[in-house]
Amino acid sequence: MKIIVPIKQVPETSRVKINEETGTIIRDGVENIINPLDLYAIESAIQLRENHSGSITVISMGPPKAETALREAIAMGADQAILITGREFAGSDTWSTAYALSALIENIKPYDLIITGERATDGDTGQVGPAIASFLNLPLSTYTGKIETVNKDHIIVKRLIEEGYERLQLPLPALLTVVKEIAYPRLPTLRGKQKARTIDIPIHSGKDMKVKEEKLGLAGSPTRVVRIYRPQVTRKGTIFQVKDEKTLAESVDQLISFLKEKKIVSF
């Protein structure tokens, strides 16, 4: 079974700092990591390979330093990696990101399955996975929580929806976006780490793929960011402190008044 896992390198969100004046993100000194939700995609690919043999190719589009994320995926157990990088890709929105990744995937055919994380924690759109399926005309399951059955020509999955789950049967090749529930990501192994240090990671630029230059990067992106600003995060809430029986009763009474005032309870 040949599996392709597109991943993204993201800044560690909990450390992100915002320049209060310009509203832009300060990236200096912020650690870059594999998008945490992509770890579930990598792990489910490894589990499938363990049960059905085959190989895993991780791919990514990003600046040259995104190679680090691909090496981390190799350390976890992926077999090979390819990086798309170049100035021509800068400023890509989800449309042109999916376009470039799809072009690369076309280049490395054949494959049985593409697995992506449900979304990346920086852009937070969840659009690139479904968009790749659309470009490549592959059957799609999003929010996949479990892979139940895999055989030569189809896969049965459980998809998480608002009311519970639904089960879908998809012919292969197919694309799955997966959620946390699907697998518990393993840590890199010693052997994996050794491989990650030495493996050659091919780099593709726009010239190496069958792509139309005008569809790449900012020029190829249908959307434009008009402006970025800092949201109002702090609220001037009323905070009570419980110190004894009396303040406990008072705090709870105040809470009930708040609930009434906001019409959360009606009596």
Partner: protein, 335 residues
Amino acid sequence: MKKKEVWTVSEINQQQEIKPVSFELLARGRKLAQELGVALSAVVLGNSLTERELKELIYRGADKVYWVHHQALARFVVENHSNIIRHLIKQYQPQIIIAAATTQGRTLMPHLSIKLNTGLTADCTDLQIEQETGLLLQIRPAIGGNIMAMIKTPERKPQMSTVRPKSIQVLPRNETREGNIIPIDVDDSLLDHRVTHLGYYKSEEEKVNLSSADIIVSAGRGLKKKENLSLIRDLAKQFDAAIGASREVVDRGWISYPHQVGLSGKTVNPKTYLAIGISGAIQHLAGMKTAENIIAINSDPQADIFKISDFGIIGDLFEIIPLLKKKLEEKELSS
């Protein structure tokens, strides 16, 4: 009206009824259509919706309802929905199309935007019309809610967005509103037979539909052990609320993953969010900080959850929750 319309993509449930989130989209769309001076339409794909059900869309703000019916559309299968809506868009050429940022909308819309060669903005919390250009301004949180971005699609049509559920009030139901229901037959060539839907499964007995809940009572590590979640369940029952949880509570196996709120779980936007024993890691806050009312109960005065709370109590939740429960019960009885 010859001018290009604003469209909303309605969602239906398994009983072939309109889901309430469809009315929220109409409330958003109504404002946009009014400013642009164009008609507002709802697109509904299904199998056997009654006319009464379809009329609800008109009562809630639609001028037209495109009603696409076929046996194969009883359930959402992205390939079918994408093909059919793309076909309709080519025919009617709406200028704006919005869908809910649900598991359906966030699957359908990216699929569709590729085929239509146009832009899409995910999970918007506000939509406006740019005065000079008449373009759609799409506002959304990014980087875990640390920034807000305003995005537009300047040159391509339609302009597409998914909109976060519960981010707007539905319009009051108005039975005197008039509109057209336009039935549309499905050309068989638009149906994709590759994916088979094998059925639905409810997750558990407890309310887990966080995206449609008005009130969420959410449990954190402060609950100390699995058995103590009964406190949260009781309180949720009292408020008729859905149950949420922090990552840690899910990772420890106290409750299942569909309850998880935050960056690796769900983004929720209820009217009221009660955070019980939740310290407020940035990843958790990213998933709930747009709630209208945030109430926090935690023993740590330094907990970040208090920074974004409208009301907070610093104290022992094992004292506070039972007392709250008791006092609420007394009030209910005496009213």
